[in-house]
């Protein structure tokens, strides 16, 4: 029975109240590829990235106008009621999108696929500590990652690097080729406009090849040149850069002309095709296969990824041309994923597992944000493009554990009557420890037993 516990907890998002453990764990995981909904109604009801880009532009312009008026009046910014502040709408959009993400995870028929979406959103992390990403972070996951989670890695990569959230988060949207039309005009007027290599570096270091995999500064700069023009329309004041509308736009006037050389290969394409050709080669590069395989192996096989598992996933990636379901199938078939040491759950993982355990279907939007903040992992706010760390030392801190225990008691108090003893056998079939069984049996009330279950060692790991 232990395999069904691993399928539920390590591959999935934790068992759910009232659902029997899977009888055939591998089949249960594989069948999820067919059950997964890429565009559920809750997602399509949210504002898309073009709406959110416009909302950001309006907020920015309102803020600017308010500041201009305040400056003209010689005073400070007026004290505006919170609901009228320019960025309020974006903050609300963030709260709604974060609630949809959480509720999907609580109710999904395909928890393994939802976990993979969270994995990729963290691999290609954008963080809402920039205002420009605040509204767009949810749309990034729903538009770029979710529809491609069961596709090719190259398509996922291209969707990610073209999404306005990524282009704005890592400053690509404003990067100007010095010899582009606009770069030359600016130079003649004495305005220095030029390259920004932020996105190009993170593509090589974080998204594809991985750090220390053999690329150099010149590769970063050449990729940055090739990607000039990958921009976002609907934001710029300048007519030349406004684009056809809000959203991704290849802005030819800022593209650096000429051939590029990346990793020793020459790219003679012009315009957008050049960057696309480089990204497709990077997606298929052996270093990328190794990098992705290592991260997946760490997520499912333990903090020290087993070498045999890395090799299996790497081979599946290379042989299938980066076909992600092929890689996931190799993962499901790999013995290392079913035997490795348990992972310490992140705050996100633990909270989902606790809420699923008590059968929560929908979390109030405000509780959502507050809980993940207090537990140390606010949604879409890892603080850096490297995303959240995926090893225990980042999460297994004394205070972090204490907070979970506090939250466990709160969740149990709201959950209503439940027999924690039978629930425990269902959540961890064949894997419940004797001390936990005893603690539940000896609790002073059903609510306390449930709180102890949510705080139990089994619940802290997957």
């Amino acid at each position: 029975m232990r395999d069904s516990s691993i399928a539920l907890n390590r591959f999935g998002l934790g068992g759910r109240k009232g659902e029997a453990p899977p009888a055939d764990p591998k089949r249960w995981l594989l069948d999820q590829f067919g059950r997964f909904e890429p565009r559920p109604a809750a997602v399509t009801a949210l504002p898309g990235s073009s709406t959110l880009v416009t909302m950001f532009r309006d907020a920015r312009d309102n803020q600017r106008d308010a500041k201009r008026e305040a400056d003209a009046a010689g005073g400070q910014m007026p004290d505006i009621a919170p609901e009228l502040r320019p960025y309020r709408a974006l903050r609300d959009a963030y709260g709604q999108a974060a609630a949809v993400r959480t509720n999907l995870a609580l109710t999904t028929p395909a928890p393994f696929v939802e976990r993979l979406i969270h994995f990729w959103a963290n691999h290609f992390a954008v963080s809402i500590d920039k205002l420009v990403t605040l509204g767009l972070a949810g749309a990034f996951e729903f538009e770029a990652i979710r529809p491609n989670v069961l596709g090719k890695f190259s398509d996922l990569l291209l969707a990610v690097e073209r999404h306005p959230a990524m282009l704005l988060y890592l400053d690509q949207a404003q990067s100007v080729g010095p010899d582009s039309m606009l770069g030359q005009i600016a130079a003649r007027r004495g305005n220095k406009r030029g390259l920004n290599e932020n996105l190009a570096r993170e593509i090589l270091e974080l998204h594809t090849l991985g750090v220390r995999s053999g690329y150099g500064q010149e590769d970063v700069t050449e990729l940055a040149r090739a990607l000039t023009g990958w921009s976002v329309g609907g934001l710029a004041q300048q007519p030349l850069l406004r684009g056809p509308g809000p959203g991704y736009w290849f802005a030819a006037p800022i593209h650096q002309p000429g051939d590029r050389t990346v990793l020793g290969k020459r790219y003679g394409q012009s315009g957008e095709a050049q960057g696309e050709a480089i990204l497709r080669d990077l997606a298929a590069h052996p270093a990328t296969a190794r990098h992705i395989a290592t991260k997946l192996a760490r997520h499912f096989g333990g903090d020290e990824p087993p070498a045999a598992l890395v090799t299996r996933l790497e081979q599946a990636f290379l042989k299938s041309g980066g076909d992600l379901p092929t890689v996931y199938r190799a993962l499901i078939e790999a013995p290392e994923a079913w035997s490795g040491p348990a992972k310490f759950r992140t705050p996100w993982d633990w909270t989902l597992a606790a809420l699923r355990a008590v059968g929560t279907q929908q979390l109030p939007a405000l509780m959502n944000a507050s809980t993940f903040n207090q537990l140390g992992q606010p949604i879409w706010r890892p603080g850096s493009p490297a995303g959240w760390d995926d090893t225990a030392p980042s999460w297994a801190g004394p205070d972090a554990l204490y907070r979970r225990v506090e939250v466990a008691e709160r969740i149990a108090a709201r959950a209503g009557p439940l027999d924690a003893r039978t629930l425990a056998e269902q959540l961890f079939p064949g894997a419940l420890s004797e001390p936990s069984r005893k603690a539940l049996a000896g609790a002073e009330s059903p609510t306390q037993a449930l709180a102890l279950l949510l705080a139990s060692p089994e619940m802290m790991r997957r």
Partner: protein, 381 residues
């Protein structure tokens, strides 16, 4: 689980409170204190302490060269205008700057660079423990209790010396009866038992110091100071400061960041009172930023940068710099400030001087995979 304060906190975070520091501390039976501030994201040393007297500076930096004022420290360097309290410490003789410095790390990844800075290794990930943790072992009475004032423990403090953690929270307290049962439930799980024991002890001690919730820059300085005074006070504290990666819009963002850092350091000094005389504060970042401005009003990842220290025993009022210059041929790989002073020599020299340790032993312990000769004369005898 919801209350008004946590909502306020959330909106403060989202509205761009750039300085959201997290702290970590360690206690030891010495009167000497250390605060290590890590600026995550590669702080721009060339704008923090700007070489305005270098003939190449203005053209490399363009609009960014105009800091909007500042304090001229000498013919070469101008301190950023947001750093008013730091300027006062310099005038008073207890702030010391080291320019054109770098760890042994020479590539430009934040995450690798921070790893080298925190572990004291020569290469990224060549060690698991951090130099602050190893420093605890050198201090008198090395049963020193160490503690991270963030939910988890930053790499610099990880290692064999036991480290607990604490950070202010808005969560309501759990009931005592339940907590005792959790303690018993964890008794046979070595990992959870250890974490739980540390958390329970620390909560008991920290209950009085979190009244302002520890948020904001000045509050962080005050909180750190209050945790370092008194008989149970910590001796080693680490403050994590995020948000220094200024690829675009650097002028405004950096001024905010530096203003926050200045307020934190000022509140720390005020809160320490007489203990300031026994305190060493070190501020460092993983690497510097490009000598030239980029095309988007910012700077990209570079190499050589700035570290500085302050405190009652620092032989300050000076800028230490074997200045390499900013002419094209003087730049590292044609783009970055060339590092001329090893950062590990600064750290081991200052820490040995401050704690009265043997310099060579300190260097070997903190930087075991190859240490530079410790710099002397950073601390008053």
């Amino acid at each position: 689980m919801i209350d008004r304060r946590s909502l306020l906190t959330r909106s403060a975070l989202l509205s761009g409170a750039l300085f959201a520091p997290r702290l970590a501390w360690a206690a030891a039976p010495t009167e000497r204190r250390l605060v290590f501030v890590i600026q995550r994201g590669a702080a721009d040393g060339l704008a923090t302490l700007a070489p305005t007297g270098d003939p190449a500076y203005a053209s490399l930096r363009g609009e960014l060269a105009d800091l909007g004022g500042g304090t001229k420290l000498d013919g070469l360097f101008t301190l950023h205008p947001a750093l008013t309290q730091l300027a006062a410490r310099y005038q008073a003789g207890d702030a010391l700057f080291v320019h054109a410095t770098a760890s042994p790390y020479r590539d430009r990844s934040h995450f690798d660079g921070q790893n080298v800075l925190e572990t004291g290794g020569k290469l990224p990930y060549d060690r698991d423990d951090g130099w602050m943790n190893r420093l605890i072992g050198l201090l008198p009475g090395s049963d020193a209790k160490a503690l991270a004032l963030s939910p988890a423990i930053p790499t610099a403090l990880r290692g064999p010396a036991t480290v607990s953690s604490y950070a202010p929270t808005n969560l309501p307290d759990a009931s005592a009866e339940f907590l005792q049962r959790v303690g018993r439930l964890y008794a046979e799980d070595p990992q959870l038992h250890g974490l739980w024991s540390e958390a329970v002890q620390t909560r008991a001690m920290a209950i009085t110091v979190a009244e302002d919730n520890g948020r904001g820059a000045a509050a962080a300085g005050k909180l750190a100071a209050s945790l370092m005074t008194g008989p149970e006070g910590a001796r080693l504290v680490m403050v994590e400061s995020n948000g220094w990666d200024t690829h675009a819009g650097q002028r405004g963002r950096l001024a905010n960041q530096l203003g926050g850092l200045d307020a934190m350091l000022g509140a720390l000094r005020d809160g320490l009172g007489a203990a300031w005389a026994n305190t060493l504060v070190i501020v460092a970042t993983e690497f510097g930023r490009t000598a030239a401005a980029n095309g988007t009003g910012g700077t990209d990842h570079g190499t050589g940068g700035l570290a500085f220290m302050l405190g009652g025993r620092v032989k300050g009022g000076r800028v230490l710099a074997d200045w390499p210059g900013l002419s094209p041929s003087a730049l590292y790989e044609g783009r970055d400030l060339k590092p001329t002073t090893p950062l590990d020599a600064v750290l081991s020299g200052a820490l040995a001087g401050h704690f009265g340790l043997d310099p060579a032993l300190t260097a070997r312990t903190l930087f075991p995979s190859g240490a530079s000769k410790p710099l002397e004369g950073l601390i008053r005898a």
